[in-house]
Amino acid sequence: MKQRTTLLPAFDFLAERVSGLLDPSDREALCGDLAESGVAGIEALHDVLSLVIRRQIAILCNFRPWVVLAFLAIPIGVLLSVVSRQAADGSAIYLWLYTSNPNLSLVRMSGYWRGMAECLPVVLLPCLSLTCLSWTAGLLIGVYARQTRWLSGTGLIGVLFCAGILGLPHGFASILALGRARYYFGNAAVFTNAFYRAVYPQIIELLLSVLPFFYGLRQRIPVSSFPRSGRLVAFIAFGGSIGALICQSSASWVFHLWDHWPRYLPGLPPPITMASFGCTAYLYLAAKHSRKVIGCGRTAPSLIGEESDAIHQ
């Protein structure tokens, strides 16, 4: 479809994008057939949709995507919403502090910069941790529901935003730290401002949860293409990160244990290290895998396609 000049490029573009939902082998054969037949525009889109819809229905008739949605995507969405809210509320206080008191004379004071140096890790580390956790969540869901990424992704994002905007049911407060997540006490001045109370958490959720999650979900190099030992390492690392996500949500690590953990439990890795296990391991394994593939004289994408085919066969 790419090489033809068409009268309806928008439909061709859509057809090209929608065909991305197909397996690589299906996509290759379908796009080749359409190019050979000279089918373009709305007719090509119709053909692609007819196959995509049939394939998706066949997949949805299976129990696996629903199990992944119910036991992985939705719980992780809830946990991410808690961590996201904690990160947003924690950073909102400092953001308010610095943006609401613009005074150039402060900048000349050494205390100002000392205070800034102290607050930066408190703001940035939870944000970095949230990004890593969301990315790992995307990677993990991409492994178990590669063909129904849209379903699991929509479910997780739906839960994330519903929990963020509407809040979780009261019963969750006893399990999760949601009750403590809104840190109003002593900071009412910050949260009376609608921006910090309602808009800023959604911005943080979008930038640090949704985008990294979708980036992870795409998996440029599928985990399934790693060698067996690499897959094992990846799953252990994902487990570490998801464990960190559970602890972070239920124990409210970010703001309460962040400083205390390394002091009282020096033997354990710091929380940010655990949160970054999943994506660090993936990046390392993907780089190693790409080097190996290119070193064999073949391009990485071609092998990815072949291996994906082999997996699906």
């Binding site: 080749g32 190019a35 053909d47 949709l49």
Partner: protein, 103 residues
């Protein structure tokens, strides 16, 4: 017993021989029936026939005519030929002594 669309696909595959692949089968069916053949229906039926063991498919070599894309080649199996033969005999038997001419 196979269905009529499955029979059309197996017949087209048999007729095309080593040149049987998605687009060619689709053309054959459209010529035979005079109707548009949905590519979605074609590929899902190919999958079904393959899972039943009536057809084998594999990815062929990419060609410039197809924008560098590979073909999904199709080959009929002995079981597929038997199933198509049985369907044809059934239709022939069911149609005996029947005239479809209309005045």
């Amino acid at each position: 017993m196979i269905g009529e669309f499955e029979y059309l696909i197996i017949s087209a595959t048999a007729r095309l021989g080593s040149e049987a692949y998605g687009a060619a089968i689709r053309r054959e069916i459209e010529e035979a029936t005079g109707q548009r053949c949905s590519i979605g229906a074609l590929y899902t039926t190919l999958d079904r026939l393959q899972s039943k063991g009536f057809l084998q498919t594999w990815m062929g070599e990419p060609t410039a005519q197809r924008g560098g894309r590979a073909k999904r080649m199709v080959r009929i199996t002995r079981k597929g030929a038997q199933a198509a033969g049985a369907f044809y005999l059934t239709v022939m038997y069911a149609s005996r002594d029947v005239s479809w001419e209309t005045r």
